[in-house]
Symmetry: C2
Subunit: 188 residues, 2 copies
């Protein structure tokens, strides 16, 4: 942030405003304080018979790796609408029966992932603009070494563990990078 988006001043300060306890971008000229907050990423473990809908990413980051359909929640939608929209945009798949499945904190990048379990309506899927390929995969087809993000690996592991036990429940946890930048996964 180099300029105030309200008054155009280039005199932006990074300081703790009076009555606050965190650093914020502040404009001394017009008094605006600019808050930044975590973003929600939401998507689906979308099932068709015994298979899961996977997407090969056509966009950065991690082009060419495999992911569950997911993306940033937009203003004026619900979590469920956002997860279904992302599944449609990335894989042209229509979903129903969305159930909360995993809620994970990623505090190092200020994101909260909210993943749903869902059914694909008619087994139809194809590549949306953000995907190179889509595929309904059996557990044995999952390219574990070629997944896009640790949260996708974790969500898929939880899903197949639950499926083996014959019962799905809501999972919570966090994924962090430690000081050596190694990924640490904690299940609450």
């Amino acid at each position: 942030m180099k300029f105030c988006s309200s008054c155009g001043s280039s005199d932006i300060e990074h300081k703790i405003p009076e009555g606050d306890n965190r650093l914020r971008h502040c404009c001394p000229r017009c008094g605006m304080v600019f808050y930044e907050n975590p973003k929600i990423v939401t998507g689906c473990v979308a099932q068709w018979q015994d298979k899961i809908l996977m997407c090969k990413r056509a966009i950065e980051p991690r082009v060419g790796t495999w992911t569950l359909p997911a993306g940033f929640m937009e203003n004026h939608e619900t979590l469920q609408e956002a997860a279904a929209r992302e599944t449609f945009e990335e894989a042209t798949a229509r979903t129903s029966n969305l159930e909360l499945f995993a809620i994970y904190n990623l505090p190092h990048i200020s994101q909260v992932y909210v993943m749903f379990k869902a059914d694909v309506l008619d087994g139809e899927a194809s590549s949306g603009i953000e995907s190179l390929e889509t595929e309904f995969m059996d557990e044995s087809d999952i390219p574990w070494s070629d997944l896009s993000f640790p949260i996708m690996t974790e969500t898929l592991k939880l899903y197949f563990e639950d499926r083996k036990h014959g019962e799905f429940s809501l999972h919570t946890g966090e994924i962090m990078r430690d000081h050596e930048r190694a990924i640490q996964i904690t299940r609450y």
Copy 2:
């Protein structure tokens, strides 16, 4: 948004960028696109014995009405840390045993509420800077006609319903304003 926060240009357009499907604030001079996303509000139904910790708001909106301690999640924290922090900031109460209790969409104001059930560590609470008073209330003490927001009424109703049944579970739903600006609450 009147000025580009990256280059200072006053020539901000509100348009759908190429490859996108939503209106965004865009700067034609430097090419920046400014995304806005929903915010997470999180807090606690904080229990001490049979009582619930309530706070009388010292700040706008709704000064002087009663609320559960809750507020905006900040960058680089987890949902659980944010809920505990808000409970401490508003009521100087330390909490433990946080459990997800209600996840509600408020799409008309682009917020997602994530409310936890928690125990107050030692029954200690007092007014933080954002509260005029704090009080541990029995169900019969709750000032139902003087609560701050519909989400607080809904969360308290769910809590006391669950308590009557002797079992707490995770609740999901949405709160909307319809075209006549009347509040509509849907439990999923």
